[in-house]
Symmetry: C7
Subunit: 71 residues, 7 copies
Amino acid sequence: MIMPMKMLEENLNKHVALLLKDNRVLEGVLSGYDEYMNMVLDDVQESDEEVTRKLGTVIIRGSNVVRIVPR
Amino acid sequence: MIMPMKMLEENLNKHVALLLKDNRVLEGVLSGYDEYMNMVLDDVQESDEEVTRKLGTVIIRGSNVVRIVPR
Amino acid sequence: MIMPMKMLEENLNKHVALLLKDNRVLEGVLSGYDEYMNMVLDDVQESDEEVTRKLGTVIIRGSNVVRIVPR
Amino acid sequence: MIMPMKMLEENLNKHVALLLKDNRVLEGVLSGYDEYMNMVLDDVQESDEEVTRKLGTVIIRGSNVVRIVPR
Amino acid sequence: MIMPMKMLEENLNKHVALLLKDNRVLEGVLSGYDEYMNMVLDDVQESDEEVTRKLGTVIIRGSNVVRIVPR
Amino acid sequence: MIMPMKMLEENLNKHVALLLKDNRVLEGVLSGYDEYMNMVLDDVQESDEEVTRKLGTVIIRGSNVVRIVPR
Amino acid sequence: MIMPMKMLEENLNKHVALLLKDNRVLEGVLSGYDEYMNMVLDDVQESDEEVTRKLGTVIIRGSNVVRIVPR
């Protein structure tokens, strides 16, 4: 058994891909999170249906997160 | 009487299929969960209306979950 | 006066039909629930607008539930 | 001043019409409720845009309720 | 400074118009409310895009309320 | 650093424009608020895509608020 | 590890771009925030699909926030 929050901890400073509720995907290095699944990603590349853009550091509000995939 | 959380516990390390609110289906091995129904799945195969993809390990935010079917 | 949670208790091990917010209907035997209306159903037959499928045991997240009809 | 929960209490064992967020209307006898506005209705007749059906007893999750009209 | 809940109190037994999230408007006499903005209205006239109907007394679940206008 | 609630306090008895989630804009004098961002506005002029109307005093449920702009 | 709230603190008095759930983007100087991610931005320029407008100071309700990008 691994707790979801523990799984986030194991992915600190590693590449992850976040899917948000609006279908946006953010890929970057997980540099922080809290108990609401608010997250800080570094070196972010964001993709939606139309374009991909480089964003650098991004703070994500946890209520928008669908799933997190370690890369 | 079996509590829903107890049912999740009984499915640890077993195959489950998760239906999410956006109609995405994730099938994989349940390796963790918490009281919000946040979950960790391993060896995930994800399907939406268009495609199926292999994702490996996935952390799912519980607020997106509709139902869980043990396989 | 009968409390809604007491009504669920009285339907343990009996047939119920659950309507979910996405218009899915799950019929099966209520084998568990908790205070959030998370539920465990056995011998489930699920119907949406298009098809009916047999699912066996299903764990439902309570936030998706609209109404429960004892059969 | 009458508290909304007190108003529900005064309608116990009386006919009410519930409007839900998906525009479904349930008419029946209010036999129970709790502080989340979860409710138990008996002798329910349910109507949506297309049809009317008889459902007997129904447990409604309070988060779906828009308004209650005593009959 | 007047607290929103105090403003509701000042409108007890007076005419108000409630706008709900589904664009329904309920006009009536405010006879009760609680801290969730659940409300009891008397002598209600309800209007949506299509029709106006007389409803008598109505209990409204606060989570559906957008704004309240004293008349 | 200024806390958002402190910023509301500084705008008491001043003109503000509220944007709501349904794209409604309410302009008026902020005469009260609470910790949920429920608000009381006086001398309100409300605009949606179609019309502008004068409403006088309005109580707004905070959960509908997107942003507040001091005028 | 950097907590998301700590990341906000580090961006006080700096330029940030907020994406809201309705696809609105607000760019400005972060002058305050609280634990709900309610925020105060100064010198705001707001863009939606159609236009860009200057708003000065804006208070944003945190529940509308998707992501924050330090500039």
